[in-house]
Symmetry: D2
Subunit: 426 residues, 4 copies
């Protein structure tokens, strides 16, 4: 259990952190104001601010590009689109990098490391055919297009994926797709070109082999972004969260990723690191919120004192410090476990952090909001948006309760087995 980051990772994290603080955060302020202004005057907010493309170019030329590419899967693609052709980072080494990108909601985009593109790229890298790679993976790694993940559905409890109602039926050498998906993150981006869709193919197959993943061109006939959703009032432009209908979308069967019935297998591999990445970024977000809170609380004065010194504020700040520190170590441990024992060997650890870190981040951000007073609720600080983001992650990729259930199952398994064995022996 060695949590020391490699010197390469430490260097990358430091550079990403500096880039975020000196380039991205100032740009974020400009872009946020621009989107607000656009909305206020009725202009289209679903455009990509030119600053973002500038920052992407700068990040890429600085070697801070596609850093999410995991160790062991880099091969030709890392050489072509990665920083330096070197090996991908382990999850542990990626942690401080991802943490640094968590400080700004735009940063992941700037470094081509944002969800759901990272997960989609991993899926294509690990499970895609050469054709799928050529068509979608290359431009994604190149930052030319973006993607969405078409999984969650409005009509059923998506915490239980077997509830899924959308279908991907085989019809000769074609696959026919129908369904309604939502919370399809990325659907607002003008460059979004492909969706990874999950649907039911064959209910006669074993429970976890009934569904397929399909790479769906978003301009295919029958695909429609019905609307873009607010999440606690936030649209997350220019990414956006879409509600998408797919009506008799016909694609060649080769569009199915890795063949029919493998969706659960692919999803599992996709979601493990994805959840860890989310948690890493939330650590960065919480840390940034705490910085803002400290900054504010030593400068604002009420009743003759900096508000840091009023009531329980110092204690709350201390508890936030403690909570972030514990959570960071927890995430590093899960990353290390994932690197060392693989997804199947770290199910409890990944669920532990997924159940704990978003709530921690919500709590810290909420404290920062409270210390900012009205300003914390409003558009001049990134805190309300940060809260919405952290709150969403108590639901996205499995609600807290589902992950607690996974943790409990692993925890109780040996006890239940022993009790059952004894009962059997009696």
């Amino acid at each position: 259990m060695d949590f020391a980051h490699s010197s390469r990772a430490a260097d990358l994290a430091e550079r990403v952190r500096t880039f975020v603080d000196t380039e991205v955060l100032p740009a974020e302020e400009v872009i946020t104001a621009d989107i607000l202004a656009r909305r206020a005057r009725g202009a289209d907010p679903w455009t990509v601010h030119p600053l973002i493309e500038e920052l992407k170019t700068k990040a890429r030329s600085g070697g801070l590009w596609n850093l999410f590419l995991p160790a062991g899967h880099e091969g030709a693609y890392a050489a072509k689109y990665g920083t330096d052709g070197a090996a991908g980072l382990t999850n542990l080494d990626y942690a401080p990098v991802a943490e640094a990108t968590g400080r700004s909601y735009l940063a992941p985009l700037v470094f081509n490391c944002n969800a759901p593109d990272t997960g989609n790229m991993e899926v294509l890298l690990k499970y895609g055919s050469q054709g799928q790679k050529d068509q979608w993976l290359d431009p994604l790694l190149d930052g030319r297009i973006r993607s969405v993940f078409l999984m969650t559905e409005p009509g059923v409890a998506s915490s239980d994926a077997t509830n899924m109602e959308a279908t991907a039926r085989l019809d000769g050498d074609e696959v026919v797709i129908n369904g309604r998906k939502w919370w399809s993150t990325g659907a607002g981006h003008p460059d979004a070109k492909v969706g990874i869709f999950m649907g039911l193919t064959d209910e006669s197959a074993p429970r976890h082999q009934q569904h397929s993943m399909v790479a769906v061109p978003l301009d295919a006939p029958g695909v429609k972004v019905e609307r873009l959703l607010t999440a606690m009032g936030v649209y997350d432009e220019p990414i956006g969260h879409g509600e998408v209908t797919l009506t008799d979308v016909r694609l060649p069967a080769e569009a199915i990723i890795a063949g029919p019935g493998r969706a659960f297998e692919i999803a599992q591999g996709r979601l493990g690191p994805g959840r860890v990445h989310h948690c890493m970024r939330l650590i960065g977000l919480a840390e940034y919120a705490l910085e803002l809170a400290c900054e504010r609380s030593v400068r604002r004065v009420a009743f003759g004192k900096p508000i840091a010194n009023l009531g329980g504020n110092r204690e709350r700040l201390a508890k936030a410090r403690i909570a972030i520190n514990q959570a960071r170590l927890h995430v590093l441990h899960a990353a290390w476990k994932l690197d060392t024992y693989g997804t199947a060997g770290s199910l409890s650890e990944v669920s532990e952090i997924k159940a704990a870190v978003p709530q921690m981040a919500c709590d810290v951000i909420d404290l920062a909001i409270q210390l900012h007073g009205g300003a914390g609720m409003g558009p001049d600080f990134p805190l309300a948006t940060a809260y919405a983001g952290a709150r969403s992650l108590r639901l996205a990729d499995g609600p807290d309760e589902v992950h607690l259930g996974v943790v409990a199952r692993h925890l109780l398994k040996p006890y239940a087995a022993a009790a059952a064995a004894e009962a059997g022996a009696r």
Copy 2:
């Protein structure tokens, strides 16, 4: 300590509740969708949907109008604009009415009982000159215009009102106003015509007699709504929360309410019942969120069970039931105390509920969001907006921490006095 509502109050509450559920909530859905659609297509969202005026007319003709008018201050105005010319309601009797209006963010507007108009009308009723009443109170009670409260400032910690930087200087027989205010609720409404402004008049006066309240016509030269603010992403159309600059706004000195230096006195009287009203409405809002949560949790199925029966959900619902019930009784008690002992005699009680109820409401709404999954975060349920509203009230009209400080002061006063007396005797 008799919490039984009068039969008149019980009848009114029942009728308001029915009106809200059958008329306002369905309209809210339509109006919310309309505002979203307007924003999506770049149309002006700061218009008043015709349904609102229809509902106002209907409420008024049904005798459900200006019910906030307090007992003892009704006089001619109640006869003219009130329900039936009868006596105003006590705080205790108004509680179930206000609770019922808390179920929809539009309802208070429909019944002419929304903040900050109610508080402003009370100020004018109690402290306004006849001229101020004629100019502003009549049309407000009539629902023809709306008002804003210009108190909070962006540059200082407004939890301590003595920090205030805005000024209302006397210059001959004029008062000259300068300052920047924000979170000026109501500033987005096209009918907003008057602001009750608070500013520094004379720093040589005793600490709580330095400030004045002024009735400022919003079309006076020098008044500018700079922007409308989001609160956790929510604009609260058509009310809106404005940032307003006042630059050398000159008004006749008669615009000062009750004369110079009385702002703290007026604010105190205004805020007591106002805080209780907020808490009453939050009880209604939390109750409604719990209803939605129950509804959802018995119908959505995951892992083969209604989600109500998964994990700790039932326990959480039970705890929400308990929390609302305790909070409701607490608010009723504060209202009864306010009726019986006046504002000065119920400072601790009012601060107790103001410190406790918004957090309770946030917790219940957050639970409802979690049980709704992604839908709870999005625009199809009123939960995200409800959360933003409840969260705002942990800051508005005094942050939680300030109210806890008031409670502690009252609690410790006799102990500290006894300890001091003993120390003195030694």
Copy 3:
């Protein structure tokens, strides 16, 4: 919903409160020290300190005796053993009396109002035969003997009473009792003479008619107090919590209370008011802990300030103030509901307070401990004992979780019914 106590109740509560503060609390200090000293020198702690009998006499002569006797059941017994022969108190009127007795763990004993005797006396009053009344109820009401309740068992989860393993089998005109009970409160008292025992009589009867209650003389052959249990280190002398074995205890069948199979019916009636009494006393206990906390925190000085003014202490004290106030109103409401709608009509309300109040009391007492530092943990203040008592009540008479389940069931019932009806209609 009128929570005003009658003037008689207000007067009684005031007198009980004064008696507790001036007589019982000083005696408690002496008696606690005496028990500690006895234990330290190896003397028998299971004796009744003469001060207790003195106080009982004084309380009785002051008319503060058997005040728990409920309205409607007073009859001849109230005239004989009650205060003044007047009608018993409603639950609402008993609330402030019970609250006052909650300030000292000895007070309930002094007023002949302590658990489990009160519950046992109620059972005998309502369900007992004349013979049982003559034998047990008279001396109990007279304060000459004490009783225990033999319900909880060590071998099974007693939260589900159908788990019970002890038996009360009919054998001709005798009943034969076998089983092991524990947490039999009162078993340490030298005057404990009778136990109300619950056991399985006939497993072929309907689920809730299989068990019987039996009045068991504690000196009957086969009854043995195996040991007295500590609850978080506390023995609660001279009451004590016993583990009791009953081995082939033969009694005439008339010892069965109200006839075989009625134990669940009797238990239900016994536990409703009993739980409310517990909650009332806990309010008093929490209030007393808060008083001690306030007292201490204005007098102890650290880092140059009274500790009340350090860190978040004032906020925590304010939150304790709020929590007690909410809980008290909640308990009053449940008492009022119980008076107005009976046990069956107030199941949710009673479970609500039983699930909420003990935890609240634990939290307030824990705060008081923390503010007392080491002294709070030790024997010189009643706080550690208070904590043990409050903590026990998160388990006794149904653990928190069972009561939350009851609340949830009542809350969800209409929603589940509606959902089922709709599903049926489809």
Copy 4:
């Protein structure tokens, strides 16, 4: 930041863990029962059960002795009394060893690694004269005598050590000691022979150089153990927590450790690792409580299900799993920081864990108690005692609030400095 334990540490931890589970825990059950029985029959509980001496011998012969001896201070003493004469363990390497000893309240004693002896031995090792070492350190390391720490006082808030009232005045070549100390852990043990006393020597010296530490023979004239204190009802036999008076105790000035005025310096060095050790043991204690909780909850059945599957129990168990895992990593990090940057370089980290871990342990143990029902409160499981121990540590060695204050100070320092610098520049 490498948290991997050395192979030696891993091996030691494994062996200690096995020894605790197979030898100490079974003995603990016997000894606890014996003490209860002694108390019940009025026999002296302040004796050392022969099993303890047997286990000490066995542990020592197994090389599991004095493992607390820190790296760098082992020298001759480690060779003489340590495991194998090898280097002492780093704090990081000691962590899993201490964690294993935390599972039983007797285990630290068995391995000669219990507080306050470990801290006292460290003080003597680092600051003691050769005479003090010969007289006290040798027999302590040899397990022949025990020691107490005479610091906390009943009359003042000991969270602020400058409050201290006890004195250690110089009088010629003697030091004269007066004062009243309590919570002097170890004072009940028949082998307790020496106390490390802290008192005021010279109030004219700088604030943190006014106090001295003195090695006081407990049989010196004027030293009296007035009584042994319960902590939440627990005596912790055979260690015990004493209240000790020291009246004109005259000792040669050489009894002062490291010379007059150095008490704060010594205390600081003593308390850093001591606090980390406490936290390590609490991790072990919480882990053990969770094991018991899991064990119980899969075996007890209520309402037809193992209680693990009722209500929110699984979620609570999962949260306990998460909390322990986070806390363990946090403690390891603090230990690593202490090893790498010394006490002065890890003040925040040590305070972070001291503020967080005892509360976490209380929460986990409380859950275990709740899942055990009445049995959890009583004497048959170690849970009530565990709770008392964990709860004490929210006060001992600095209450939570003091440590949160330290964390906040470190957190805010740079922000406050920057704000001050800017304010100065204006």
